[in-house]
């Protein structure tokens, strides 16, 4: 009988059972290091400058002056806030990629209150009205797709994505309506003289209040997701809708409630951006954070505390890349390229955490 031999492939992949904590972080850290080397290389190829100098410029962009540190922290806080917003939905496996639109609608509601009631309401009440309006606007924008998903199983990824562009066009519409000077399409700084509706400056630092609010939200979200009954229900629905039904949970109720929360926090992010940061509204107010936040939340495995780290990472690279592009006279989109590379490496590294690669062992004669 002829010997029939089945050739074993050179490598095969085995799912890991357990992996110690330090090892997962080692893998992630090395992914970030490799990403850093690759971004340095890309920077070198494009600028022909010493790679060490490129890193120095990057660090300078985030930490060079006190002003820059505050700017970076502010970026970090806003990104973190939007990431907190998308997290409960994602934990439930509800792909809410509409945070961009939800943030914009929240910001629009705040701007509308500032323009309409800026001269008639006392500042404290005005800010309160703005918070409520923003939360409501963000929540409604998230609630609509949730209704259709929970009743008719409409694909939420595509629905929330489309809602973004409707929000962008609505904001564009109002940007022209309210533009100063008329017809320019720019709203300009709202209530420049009266500062009505502007968040108060705390401790002499203009962004400190934003950062504190987001920090508070982070802690609340952490407790909500990991130590509350709601948080548990979200995890169950995320793991398996059938299990959730079996143990008597109303999946519909959990989806609707969680999306309301998700949209509400997006609304808060919009409020912070308009009332606490930009004091204006435009179609770029959310600045793509709705999309970047998804990556931040995913990289942190939906853990709010880890998200501080991942949003720092992205905020740092963005500031650093912007600094490189100004220093070397390149286009500022350089930061998007770097962000993309970093994310590719980190999501790629997750594979090595979940699986291990086994090489074919030498056959014994």
């Amino acid at each position: 009988m002829a010997e029939h031999k089945i050739k074993e492939p050179l490598i095969h992949i085995v799912k890991r059972n357990r992996i110690p904590m330090w090892k997962t972080w080692l893998i992630r850290l090395s992914a970030i290091l490799v990403a850093l080397v690759v971004s340095g290389l890309v920077g070198f190829l494009l600028t022909r400058s010493n790679p060490i100098r490129i890193y120095a410029v990057m660090i300078d962009g985030s930490f060079g002056t006190e002003r820059r540190i505050w700017g970076m922290l502010q970026n970090l806080a806003m990104l973190l806030c939007v990431s907190l917003a998308v997290t409960p939905a994602f934990k439930m496996r509800f792909w809410n990629i509409g945070a961009e639109g939800q943030v914009l609608m929240g910001g629009l509601a705040s701007a509308a209150c500032m323009i309409l009631f800026g001269n008639s309401l006392p500042n404290g009440i005005l800010i309160l009205v703005m918070i409520i309006a923003s939360i409501a606007a963000g929540a409604i924008w998230a609630f609509v797709p949730a209704i259709f998903r929970s009743f008719w199983n409409t694909n939420e990824t595509l629905f929330t994505l489309m809602m973004n562009y409707i929000a962008i066009q609505i904001v564009s519409f109002f940007s022209y309506k309210w533009s100063v000077p008329k017809g320019s399409g720019n709203v300009g700084i709202i209530n420049r003289d009266t500062h009505a509706g502007w968040l108060p400056v705390v401790g002499g630092k203009s962004y400190l209040l934003n950062i504190l609010i987001v920090l508070g939200l982070t802690i609340i979200m952490h407790v909500y997701l990991w130590y509350s009954k709601h948080g548990y229900e979200i995890s169950v629905v995320g793991e398996s809708e059938n299990t959730a039904r079996y143990i008597g949970l109303s999946v519909r109720k959990v989806i609707l409630r969680t999306m309301l929360i998700s949209g509400a926090i997006s609304g808060i992010a919009g409020w912070l951006l308009v009332a606490g940061t930009d004091h204006t509204i435009s179609r770029n107010t959310a600045a793509g954070r709705g999309f970047t936040a998804i990556m931040v939340a995913w990289l942190a495995k939906f853990n709010p505390l880890t998200m501080i780290l991942t949003s720092f990472l992205l905020a740092f690279f963005e500031k650093g890349a912007v600094e490189i592009s100004t220093k070397f006279g390149l286009n500022e989109s350089f930061s998007d390229i770097i962000t993309g590379i970093i994310i590719f490496f980190i999501i790629g590294s997750e594979f090595f955490i979940q699986y291990s690669i086994k090489f074919r062992e030498k056959e014994e004669k």
Binding site: W152, L158, M162, Y176, W298, S333, I347
Partner: protein, 325 residues
């Protein structure tokens, strides 16, 4: 006026048609590639880089090379994007949505970066990227188009890439619904486990479909720069057309031949605000949301109606690991 409107609508629709045809081929394999907007940017800038280098270095432009070089550069760029997506989602089993969004960030960044810095990087002495010469070859039309009145204006006044888009859409439909290989591909998208059991190579199908889909979509970016924008690259000029292409996939219920008419409709909705008398600027902005509103209504309608033919591929967006069946 009607003929002019229709002609503009078709020109607006062609990039969407390329994008949605590519995305349909991709999605039929179960990969929801949200990186298509990025892929289309890279397809566009790839063509621009190729054309720019050729125009700078050649003393006299050869019409065939002037078309072929940008075309190949564009295809190469979008192929690389497709490979990144596949390597991460298929080989490394990463999450498709996150990978796709990262790919869009990356691709739009690449497009805008090179669009803004190409002149500086190559150290040439031109003030900006202006590829009118190359664009002239790309947008060459049939000479008889002008003589046939409205018929010629609507149907014959387009460049070869526009006809290629329609051909690609029809060809993809034929491939997907009339051939064995297409049937296998759809099986992978509907139920990869079943397909695997039937001896179909799931990974290979996903790789091929996604990479070819990306290359088709990238041509949309090339058409936009070379034809629609007359060879002038402006940053963010391509705008949100990539997302509109994904919307068109839903509207065409995952059938490329439906997206031919769909793309003209979307193209028309995209520019209809220019043709409505007495509309002010702010009103125009409201009209620009029409394609998205139509898509949502359609998405809701098909999900309530639960027509089986109108549903996305069952495993769309879900990863497949053989070991986890």
């Amino acid at each position: 006026m009607w003929a002019a409107f229709l002609r503009r609508a078709i020109m607006q629709g062609i990039p969407l048609l390329f994008g949605s045809t590519g995305e349909i081929v991709t999605e039929k394999s179960g990969n929801l590639n949200l990186g298509i907007p990025g892929v289309m940017y890279v397809g566009g800038i790839g063509g621009v880089i190729g054309a720019f280098l050729y125009e700078q270095n050649a003393t006299k432009l050869n019409p065939i090379l002037a078309v072929l070089i940008p075309l190949l550069c564009s295809l190469l760029g979008s192929l690389l994007m497709g490979l990144i997506y596949c390597f991460l989602t298929v080989s490394l089993r990463a999450n498709q949505n996150v990978t796709g969004l990262a790919l869009t960030t990356f691709g739009v960044g690449v497009g805008n970066f090179f669009g803004g810095s190409l002149v500086k990087l190559t150290g040439s002495d031109v003030p900006s990227i202006n590829l009118t010469a190359t664009s002239g070859y790309f947008s060459a039309t049939l000479p008889i188009a002008d003589k046939l009145g409205w018929f010629g204006q609507i149907f014959l006044s387009h460049s070869f890439l526009a006809y290629l888009a329609i051909f690609m859409a029809l060809g993809s439909s034929f491939f997907l619904f009339k051939t064995r290989a297409g049937l296998r591909l759809r099986a992978v998208g509907e139920s990869p486990a079943t397909a695997d059991a039937a001896g179909i190579n799931v990974e290979k199908n996903k790789y091929l479909a996604t990479c070819i889909g990306s290359m088709i979509a990238g041509l949309g970016g090339l058409y936009y720069v070379m034809d629609y924008a007359n060879g002038v690259w402006s940053n963010d000029g391509f705008g949100d057309r990539g997302w509109l292409a994904i919307a068109l996939v839903i509207f065409a219920v995952w059938k490329p031949h439906f997206s031919i008419l769909g793309s003209i409709l979307f193209g028309g909705l995209y520019i209809v605000h220019n043709y409505i008398p007495g509309l002010d600027v702010s009103g125009q902005e409201l009209f620009k949301m029409l394609p998205y509103v139509v898509t949502i209504l359609f998405l809701v309608g098909t999900s309530i109606g639960k027509k089986r033919e109108a549903q996305p591929p069952s495993s769309l967006g879900l990863p497949y690991f053989r070991e986890e069946r």
